[in-house]
C-alpha cells in the first residue's frame, strides 16, 4: 500500500480521538481518546519515516509514546485523587477552576 493510505488512517484515528475528547464527559474516556489522538500522530510519524527511509520519525514516535505514558500516569493519578475526595468524576461538573 502507498504511504497515503497510512496517512488517511492516521487522519481518521486523530479525528475520532478529537471527537471523543470533545463529546465524552468521563475523564477516563477523555484520557483514552487523547491516547487515540497520540496514536494517530504516531502512525503519521512512522509512515513519514518509511517514506524517507530514515529512523528519525520512529525515534519521535518512541518519544511520543513516552510522553503518552507520562500523561496517563499523571491523569490516572488525578482521577484517583478526585475519586478519593468523593467529587463527581465528570468533566462537566469539575469546573471549579473556571473563572
Amino acid at each position: 500500500m502507498t504511504i497515503g493510505w497510512y496517512l488517511a488512517v492516521s487522519a481518521i484515528v486523530f479525528a475520532l480521538g478529537a471527537l471523543g475528547v470533545m463529546t465524552r464527559r468521563n475523564p477516563l474516556v477523555v484520557l483514552l481518546c487523547l491516547e487515540l489522538m497520540l496514536n494517530g500522530a504516531n502512525l503519521a510519524l512512522v509512515a513519514f519515516s518509511r517514506m524517507w527511509g530514515n529512523g528519525d520519525g520512529q525515534i519521535m514516535a518512541l518519544v511520543v509514546m513516552t510522553v503518552a505514558a507520562c500523561e496517563v500516569c499523571i491523569g490516572l493519578g488525578m482521577i484517583v485523587a478526585i475519586y478519593r475526595r468523593k467529587l463527581p468524576i465528570d468533566v462537566d461538573e469539575l469546573r471549579d477552576l473556571q473563572g
Binding site: R25, G77, R84
Partner: protein
Amino acid sequence: MSALLFFIAAIGVISGAVGVVVLRNPFYAVLALVGHLVSLAVLFLLLRAEFVAAVQVVVYAGAVMVLYVFVVAYVGGEGETIGERLHGGVKSSGSALRLGGAVLGGALLVELLIALLGTGLEAVDGYGAGYAPGPRTYGTPAYIGKLLLTRFLLAFEVASFLLLIAAVGAVVLARRRGGLGEEDSERDRLTPMDLLKPRATGTMAEGVGKRLG
C-alpha cells in the same frame, strides 16, 4: 498479501477507535483501545518499524492498559458518568454539544485529509524508500538503539527524566492523605464560643470535680 493485511489492520484500528469513542462503559472502551493498539502494531510492522511495533504491544497494550484497567476497576466504570446519576439524567445541552462536537470532528477530518493527501509531496503516492532486509537495517532494534544513543541522546535522556518526574508526580497526586478528612470535620465543629469555655470542659477531670486553671 500486504494489501490484505493492511486492510484487515486498518479496519481493526478504525473500529477500535470508534469503539473507544462510542462505548458507554469505560471498561469496554479500554478493551477496544487494546484491540486498536494491537492492530496499530500490525500497521507499524507493515511500515517496517519492527521495534516501534514491539514497544507498542509490550509497553502500550500491555503495561499502560493494565494501569487503565486497574483504575477503571477502582473508580467504578459503570455508565457514562457518576454525575449523570446524581442529577437524574438531566441533559439539556448535552445533545446540542454532542452534535457540535461531531461537526467539529468531521471538519477536522476533512481538513486533515486535505492537508495530508492533497499535498504536493509526490512521495506520498510511493511505497517509501528502498528497503533491504538484514540484521541491522532500518527499523530493527539495533538501528533504533544506535540512533537513540548517538544522534538522539539528548531526547533519550530528557524522556527518561520526564518519566521520573511523572512517576513522582503520580505518587504525590494519588497518595493517601492521612486523616485529613477527620481533621477538617473537627475544625468545622470548633466555634469562637469554644475558646471562651474554661479549659478541660467536658473532660474526665471536670467530671470528678477537679478545677483546672
